[in-house]
């Protein structure tokens, strides 16, 4: 019986991930908008700070990470909203699969459509801010892990605020302080790479963050969803 | 006392306004955080007592009538 259930869960996760991906692909604007937002804010910085490439490249790690953080927040605001409205979140909570596992497919799909995409195109944005191409691997690697951590943390906040009227700004208040370590480790890795240092410590810390987040965040997300559904 | 005179204590070696100000703000905050629950408890209690009194007098009136 338990064996049958184990297979069940894997199969469930795979099919649910595909389902959520299809849902996202059907309305591509939801996937594209955060990217456009990212680009737009990046454009604002040279306009505000002046076009000097030297100055921009000094500030680039911080700018890229803060903007990544903000666009991640935008994604988190939409995370469970539709599922609560059409009742599928309730179905999820009632399903035989533990809720902490059942929320993972959606997060995976969200990350594939946001974090992964953002990380892969980020070297382009880096170039615009005067970052040399040699640091692109570090930029991509740090963003890959950083967006995953931020999505996991943001999902906790999203689960807690999805039932609240005008939860968006509240979500920002709850979650942004928790993003601080990710921001610090992410910019540190880039700065180390830029100044000839060793970025592996910062990257390893981000990796530890992903592991810890994957272990703990689903429990908090599940508890949060239950609170929002008032179960 | 560590200081020689009251004026010395107030001056704090030139930092008087800052040091005394820091203590003043702290006590102001503490005062307000202390006052808030005390006042609202008092208000709530007054409401409860009033209601209890009204109920008792209503009962009393009923008793007189019958």
């Amino acid at each position: 019986m338990t064996e049958a259930r184990d297979i069940d869960i894997l199969h469930y996760c795979r099919s649910q991930t595909v389902r959520h991906l299809i849902l996202i692909l059907r309305s591509p604007s939801e996937m594209i908008n955060p990217l456009v937002f990212f680009l737009l804010v990046i454009v604002l910085f040279p306009l505000g700070l002046g076009p000097d490439p030297k100055q921009l490249s000094i500030l680039a790690p911080g700018i890229l990470w803060v903007v990544a953080l903000l666009s991640n927040l935008m994604i988190c605001m939409r995370l469970f909203v539709d599922d609560l409205e059409d009742g599928s979140l309730e179905q999820l909570a009632m399903a035989r699969v533990p809720l902490s596992v059942a929320v993972l497919p959606q997060l995976t799909a969200s990350w594939l459509a946001s974090g992964l995409l953002l990380s892969l195109v980020s070297p382009l944005f880096g170039l615009m801010l005067g970052l040399p191409l040699d640091v692109a691997p570090v930029l991509v690697a740090s963003l890959l892990m950083g967006t995953a951590i931020m999505l996991l943390l943001g999902a906790v906040g999203a689960a807690l605020t999805v039932g609240v009227q005008r939860g968006g700004i509240l979500l920002a208040l709850l979650i942004l302080p928790l993003y601080v370590p990710v921001l610090i480790a992410g910019t540190r890795s880039l700065n180390e790479a830029l100044h000839g240092g060793d970025p592996t410590v910062a990257l390893a810390l981000l990796g530890a963050g992903v592991t810890g987040g994957l272990l703990l965040a689903p429990l908090a997300i599940a508890a949060g969803v239950r609170v929002s559904l008032q179960l | 006392m560590y200081f020689d005179s009251v004026a010395d204590a107030l001056a704090m070696g030139g930092h008087g306004a800052f040091v005394w100000g820091a203590y003043g703000i702290t006590f102001l905050i503490i005062f307000f955080v202390l006052l808030r629950p005390v006042m609202s408890t008092r208000r709530l209690n007054a409401g409860i007592r009033e209601e209890a009194l009204r109920k008792r007098s209503a009962k009393g009136a009923q008793g007189n009538a019958s």
Binding site: L160, L173, L174, L178, I184, L216 | Y2, Y23, P37
Partner: protein, 244 residues
């Protein structure tokens, strides 16, 4: 043992407990606050490096210490409320948040004043000040989340989860901010860390830390009593107590 724990779940018992302790704790705490301040301000010797401006330490450090401890008190109450569904734990959690935020505000304001004296700037991105500011936002988040829900039982559960997530994150945040600061620390700004503080300076500091803890306990009881009065306004035991 179990009876004591049981009693802490009973509203009338806790109300009576608060009622009995507050008349003692209130004057003692206020007197200790005044005595500690006078000791720190007037009787402790001057720091040979910082002069008299160091006297802010007697409120700044205790406020910062208890502000951090207060978050753990809140999270612990949240855990109790989540696991055992004790309504009083909800109330305690709800009480701890504004008190902790007030302590954090005191630490930040006095820190800014002290910073102006030692560093010449009202705000310096020092590791400890920055961590304190983030702690303030964590408190603000819990308070805002509590206010956002109509149903206060649901609100308490949401806040409990949030404060537990915060508890896991606080050490990480503190460590990462330290790490960040160690990289960016400019040479001109250095916190004079006196490794061996003299007893004549240490004792008033310890006294003030204990006093600030006592004040936290007193405030918790005052807020608990207030919330109990609000929640049980229609119950017989409270009426009996108030009209007796």
């Amino acid at each position: 043992m179990w009876r004591i724990i049981h009693q802490f779940g009973s509203p009338p018992w806790v109300y009576r407990f608060c009622d009995r302790v507050i008349p003692w704790l209130f004057p003692i705490t206020v007197l200790a606050l005044l005595a500690g301040s006078v000791w720190g301000l007037l009787f402790a010797p001057t720091d040979y490096k910082q002069g008299d401006s160091y006297r802010i330490i007697y409120i700044h450090v205790p406020a910062a210490v208890v502000a951090l401890a207060g978050y753990y008190v809140m999270a612990l109450a949240g855990l109790v409320s989540l696991v055992w569904r004790i309504k009083l734990a909800d109330t305690a959690m709800r009480a701890a948040a504004p008190i902790g935020a007030a302590y954090t505000a005191i630490a930040l304001i006095t820190g800014a004043i002290w910073g102006k004296l030692t560093w010449g700037a009202w705000w310096v991105w020092d590791a400890r000040i920055t961590s304190m500011l983030i702690l303030f936002f964590l408190y603000a988040g819990v308070i805002a989340l509590f206010e956002a829900y109509e149903n206060k039982t649901v609100a308490a559960r949401a806040c409990a989860i949030l404060s537990l997530v915060g508890t896991v994150n606080i050490p990480i945040i503190y460590k990462s901010v330290d790490w960040w600061y160690s990289l960016h620390q400019p040479a001109s700004i250095k916190f004079t860390e006196s490794s061996a503080i003299d007893a004549s300076m240490l004792y008033p500091l310890l006294g003030m830390i204990i006093t600030f803890y006592a004040l936290f306990a007193l405030l918790m009881m005052l807020y608990l009593k207030r919330s109990l009065t609000e929640d049980y306004a229609r119950s017989a035991w409270l009426h009996k107590r108030l009209t007796a």
